[in-house]
């Protein structure tokens, strides 16, 4: 079980409160977690990563275990505590004005 924490706007969009818990087939990677997330909540498609390229949107970051994973390859394994559900995978909206 993977725990995902979404930013407030995306929690509102997906009608969820608190963490999202996902079952992920195979190794836990950014891609597999986001695939599972978008399969459960189709309205999140395109909000975290581009529909076509799959690239992370510029003002979205991925954190876990006190590390910034935003620049890790999408198929790199996530840290062990994320894969076991001990720590959440954080999707964060970058601090930016306006």
């Amino acid at each position: 079980m993977i725990r995902v924490v979404l930013p407030a706007h995306l929690r509102t969009l997906a009608h969820v409160a608190g963490e999202v818990q996902l079952e992920v087939e195979g190794p836990a990677t950014q891609r597999s977690v986001l695939d599972a997330l978008e399969a459960r909540y189709p309205m999140l498609g395109g909000t975290i990563r581009d529909h076509v390229t799959g690239q992370r949107r510029p003002f979205v970051r991925f954190f876990a275990c006190e590390q910034d994973l935003s620049h890790e390859p999408p198929d790199a394994p996530l840290p062990g505590p994320v894969a076991t559900g001990a720590e959440p995978f954080l999707v964060v909206g970058a601090v930016a004005g306006g």
Partner: protein
């Protein structure tokens, strides 16, 4: 009993303002999608309960929201806007080729006859259509592939397709406008397009009378005379009587012929409205006076409408999609400002009053006349 529903898009959410036909007492609903930029909200002429909203964010991209109950509840619709085939390039600000990149939906134009068909004008400039109630979107690529496309360039606000006008008497005919490419017309339902910019003069481009490159801000028409179009250009108010084949300037005695909005009275096809704005850099009303100008002669002769509008120390802007008219017997006129006010006149502009004063900056205003 007739009523009206004003659909307001702002920098931080959407609002629905409702009133009976007297348009004195208003019910305010919102914010919907608080915190998101709502570029445009518009209802289907074929089913007024069906609304579409463009919801966008620098963080989370583009969403489309759909309501089937007049804005009481909403559901996310499809948000995949993928250009058809290889996107190609347009000019960037520095004159170099720049790939077409989807950024946001500026304008949603529901079909006049089918609630499930809706057009989307997007940045970078392109026209998309959905025929399944906004679940899926397909580009009408003939516009972007026009031979002039590689030479189009963005205005200061981006290269956006912001205006879509359907011809109610000719289903194959549609007009669109792009900043800063100009106006285009299709006569075959979007398969092919031709620039319709003859008569426009823009001193800010190398060839002031070029076929494309003009910064058109808005086009409006009256449904009974769809071949007559009125245009607020970056500078100049223009009209055409031949579906865009030729344009004439009708700025007349306006205090400045810069502005963004333009609209037509619901029952008087020669009565038009603009809000003059100082430019090029100020983008606020001349002399701190917020004045709507009305021409009852289809242009050239303009009169200021000021009753109920601030006539001192007013420095707001009125953006291109932020004016609308209802179709009640006494035509109502509405506009929103970057200061968060939405003003209404229930008597064709003679008298004005704010519906709301303190919304986020208003990006768009539409109105539905409900029976």
């Amino acid at each position: 009993m007739s009523s009206v529903r004003v659909l307001v898009g702002t920098k931080k959410g959407a609002f629905v303002l409702s009133s009976d036909g007297k348009r004195k007492q208003w019910d305010i609903s919102g914010p919907h999608f608080g915190g998101w930029e709502i570029y445009h909200v518009k209802g289907s002429p074929a089913d007024p309960s069906r609304l579409y909203a463009s919801q966008t964010s620098g963080w989370f991209g583009q969403l489309i929201q759909r309501s089937n109950d007049g804005g009481q509840t909403w559901e996310p619709a499809g948000n995949q806007f993928v250009y058809d085939g290889a996107p190609g390039t347009h000019q960037w600000y520095d004159g170099t080729p720049h790939p077409w990149e989807f950024k946001r939906v500026w304008h949603l134009e529901p079909s006049l006859t089918d609630p499930d068909t809706v057009y989307a004008g997007v940045e970078d400039a392109g026209l998309f259509r959905s025929t399944d109630g906004a679940k899926t979107w397909q580009e009408l690529p003939g516009l972007r592939r026009h031979e002039s496309g590689p030479g189009w360039h963005p205005g200061a606000g981006g290269m956006c397709l912001h205006t879509i006008v359907q011809d109610p008497g000719n289903p194959g005919r549609m007009y669109i406008a792009i900043s800063a490419a100009g106006a285009f017309r299709t006569d075959d339902a979007g398969q092919t397009w031709r620039p319709i910019n003859r008569g426009l003069r823009s001193q800010y481009i190398p060839d002031p009378t070029a076929e494309v490159g003009h910064c058109v801000h808005r086009i409006a028409s009256h449904p009974l005379r769809p071949s007559v179009l009125f245009m607020q250009k970056h500078w100049d108010v223009m009209r055409t009587d031949d579906a865009g084949d030729s344009w004439q300037e009708v700025s007349g005695n306006l205090p400045t012929d810069f502005g963004f909005v333009i609209d037509v009275h619901a029952h008087e096809p020669e009565t038009i409205y603009v809000v003059p704005i100082r430019s090029d850099s100020e983008h606020f009303p001349p002399d701190g006076k917020l004045r709507v100008y009305r021409s009852r002669t289809g242009g050239n002769e303009w009169a200021a409408l000021t009753k109920g509008l601030p006539q001192s120390d007013c420095y707001v802007n009125v953006l291109r999609d932020a004016m609308a008219v209802d179709s009640l017997d006494s035509c109502g006129i509405y506009f929103g400002t970057t200061g968060g006010q939405v003003y209404a006149s229930a008597d064709a502009g003679d008298n004005w009053a704010p519906i709301v004063r303190d919304l986020p900056a208003v990006l768009s205003v539409e109105v539905q006349t409900l029976q």
